[in-house]
Symmetry: C2
């Protein structure tokens, strides 16, 4: 099962470089298509070239940057279609994970833990209205449920593939949660998602692999709908982390 937080002592320079560069890109300090000169990053982040290079390589693997010809790295931009495809890939792999969980079976205690997680989400939805705290808590619980779902597959290989697919900007399950407070009717979206969570868990409990697969795929389509909503809402776009990476339709 995956260790959610590796619990590291003090962050290395390489970690600082990774987080620092990702932050610079997400904040739009470097725009899509722009080069990232190593020395500029050394200046901005205060670490030497060695960890900077390691971070650039990692971010290129992650998909945020791309190696440019004949050398160096540039910021990658994402079209609406590309983001939709990334969500589709994530949903497909999540569905595979859920199917495996249903086929291979999950222990009663683990199912109970997943159900507990859903209970807490319901509690949250019952009493709270969208706001700062609410969104942070929902995001955390939603994340936990999805982590547990993948772990339930029992396959490290699938978990790995899924983690990679989810690391693309806007592809993860919480990509749009942080700004749903600004979108009208978002509470109803959360409620719909939660109903799907229950159905997914029930299908796994019933070992119904044929049913759980389309359920998870459908669940991933919420992200799709959120993408559409955000793109039509300028106010939301301003507050979406990484918004400068999105290539709007010409």
């Amino acid at each position: 099962m995956a260790q959610p937080i590796p619990l590291q002592k003090d962050p290395s320079q390489a970690d600082r470089a990774l987080l620092g560069i990702r932050d610079l890109v997400f904040r739009g300090e470097f725009k899509a298509g722009e080069r990232l000169p190593e020395l500029a990053l050394v200046e901005l982040l205060g670490v030497s070239r060695t960890p900077i290079r390691a971070a650039l390589q990692a971010l290129a693997e992650e998909g945020l940057l791309e190696a440019s010809q004949p050398t160096g790295y540039t910021v990658r931009g994402f079209s609406e279609t590309e983001i939709a495809d990334a969500i589709e890939v994530r949903g497909t792999l999540e569905a595979l994970a859920a199917r495996m969980a249903a086929e291979r079976g999950v222990s009663g205690s683990y199912l109970a833990a997943m159900s507990d997680c859903l209970d807490r989400i319901e509690e949250l939805l019952a009493k709270a209205k969208p706001g700062r705290d609410f969104l942070a808590q929902y995001s955390q619980l939603n994340n936990q449920f999805h982590e547990m779902l993948v772990a339930a597959s029992g396959s490290e290989i699938v978990a790995r593939a899924l983690a990679r697919a989810s690391s693309l900007p806007f592809a993860g399950h919480n990509a749009f949660v942080s700004i749903q407070g600004r979108i009208p009717g978002s509470l109803e979206i959360f409620r719909a998602a939660q109903r799907q969570h229950r159905e997914i868990l029930e299908a796994i409990e019933a070992r119904s692999s044929a049913r759980v697969e389309p359920l998870v795929k459908e669940h991933a389509r919420i992200a799709h709908k959120n993408l559409q909503l955000v793109l039509q809402n300028n106010e939301a776009m301003k507050n979406l982390p990484g918004a400068p990476l999105i290539r709007r339709r010409p």
Copy 2:
């Protein structure tokens, strides 16, 4: 569309390190679970630590190595189940690519090029018996068809995810082709695969997204069967590149 060969002038030290380490691991010079000290690799490959480190990082991303606690890298071993899962992930993503191709449509000239590729495979199967040349040619053409299939999806995101999934040892479509000459009845396996290739192409031509998805998944199961055959055949195991990475069932 993906550039199969980046056409680089002379290989960098980093490239040499990457290929060199992969080769050492596939040949079993370092066994599963064993550490890869940087200085040992410097000695063996004759390049300095900087490109060695870049290569280690890349190979860990690829899945061949894993970062070990609290530092360094070790060779990753693969159980039979893990290899089966990797094939399943690859098949799932390939099916997604094919479905997208069917949904979005593929130009007539591209379909014709894919058909040409299949014609050449048929020609090869008609006249040749399994042997050195035959396997190399089949492998090349099989690879070409699968590359074209992914490209037909029109999605770089999916192509990327698939390339990563296929880079895990034994997960690619040609993983077991090189030793099929040693397995009795292999020609019949190739013929069955080719019949599936035709059906897949016909389904895409007919824009039948619902039909192409299970066809591609079924096609990927050939790799599954080949895995079983190889594991039961000691002679074949000896000639399988990367065989030392496989953790046999205890």
